[in-house]
């Protein structure tokens, strides 16, 4: 009878967790992460620079004239979209809008070009000297991939042997007027 009274458990007592070791770990982890974390995330855009010699060789190699898409950017008149198809040039001008390039219209035109020529991934850009760097990057962004996720373009995958859909339009950007004086 006495023993039964001894093992009586107090159900109202509060259970307390020892948080001190957990806190010790966090105090050490937080400074480590603070030091090593980058608050400004930086990414890169890959571009190719035409090399004097290799470009000349490439031009000779390209006997069946490929389709090229080029953008000529001028800070005053706007962007001239030049589509070179089997030696024939088709040019369209996209005028400036409120002192900036009309990126929406450019995007529409580029999507249309890409739909006609899904095999072209290279975009040659030749900005005029006074065009700010920021505008060039914006144009590259517009050209890289389709804004509308529904729009995709077929690419032939040699590994799978069939067409694969991609959202990328012109990821390879080449500055063509680099070597000109």
């Amino acid at each position: 009878m006495r023993r039964a009274r001894k093992i009586k458990i107090d159900h109202n007592s509060e259970f307390e967790l020892d948080l001190a070791p957990l806190l010790a770990v966090m105090v050490k982890l937080v400074p480590v992460l603070l030091v090593s974390s980058a608050f400004v995330q930086m990414m890169v855009i890959e571009t190719e620079l035409p090399q004097v010699v290799s470009e000349a060789i490439q031009r000779q190699d390209q006997q069946p004239i490929p389709t090229t898409v080029a953008l000529e950017m001028d800070a005053k008149t706007g962007i001239r979209l030049v589509l070179n198809e089997k030696g024939q040039e088709k040019a369209e001008t996209i005028p400036m809008k409120d002192g900036h390039f009309d990126l929406d219209l450019l995007h529409e035109k580029l999507v249309a070009v890409k739909k006609l020529h899904p095999e072209v991934f290279k975009l040659e850009i030749s900005p005029e000297g006074s065009v700010p760097y920021d505008e060039i990057v914006k144009v590259m962004d517009v050209a890289r991939q389709a804004r509308d996720a529904k729009i995709t373009f077929p690419v032939f995958d040699t590994k799978q042997g069939k067409n694969v859909e991609t959202k990328y339009m012109f990821p390879e950007i080449i500055f063509t007027n680099m070597m000109e004086g």
Binding site: L19, A20, L22, L23, M26, V27, L29, V30, L33, L34, S36, S37, A38, F39, V40, Q41, M42, M43, V44, I45, E46, T47, E48, L49, P50, Q51, P127, E128, G129, S130, V131, P132, Y133, D134, I136, V137, K138, M140, D141, R144, Q145, F175, N177, M178, M179, G181
Partner: protein, 168 residues
């Protein structure tokens, strides 16, 4: 009598240890930890942003790779943290440019050429392949950028990567 008094006096244990309530602190740390883990990048290249250099924002999602880091602001051209030459209001000084070829920046070419030929660095993959990370201020005109690109490609660094910021 004794029993009745104890009911009104607070029951203080004299030799109990003082315990801090750290639950709220742990709470805060947990939130901080999650936030920091989320902003933690696994990119292997550390790009130190320059003072008075505002990078353009882009939707590009390619992580930077090891390369020679060039930074170009309206007042200076630097490789890593070492200044190569000064610029005057986003334009290169006439003395730095070649007379016949105004796209050629002499001090930059010399420095890149030194890097490409130095015995300690020349076997590194990024120098052999000629990779350059260019951080340039977003307001610079293309004419200034082109001079840097032109000189870099002449010095045997044709793979140019433009550093951009993630943002809207």
């Amino acid at each position: 009598m004794a029993r009745r008094r104890s009911r009104f006096e607070p029951n203080v244990k004299k030799n109990s240890t003082f315990t801090l309530n750290i639950t709220s602190m742990t709470d805060m740390f947990t939130i901080m930890l999650v936030f920091l883990l989320q902003s933690y990048t696994t990119s292997d290249v550390q790009i130190i942003p320059e003072k008075d250099l505002r990078l353009p924002t882009s939707a590009s999602m390619t992580n930077p790779t090891e390369a020679i880091k060039l930074s170009l602001t309206a007042s200076a051209l630097k490789i890593d943290q070492t200044k190569i030459t000064d610029l005057d209001k986003a334009h290169f000084l006439a003395q730095d440019l070649e007379d016949k070829d105004t796209n050629f920046i002499k001090p930059l070419f010399e420095e890149l050429d030194k890097l490409a030929k130095s015995s300690t660095d020349k076997d590194k993959a990024h120098i052999k392949e000629g990779r350059i990370l260019l951080q340039a201020d977003k307001d610079l005109p293309y004419a200034t950028l082109r001079k840097v690109m032109y000189t870099a490609s002449m010095a045997g660094f044709p793979q140019l990567k433009l550093v951009t910021m993630v943002g809207d």
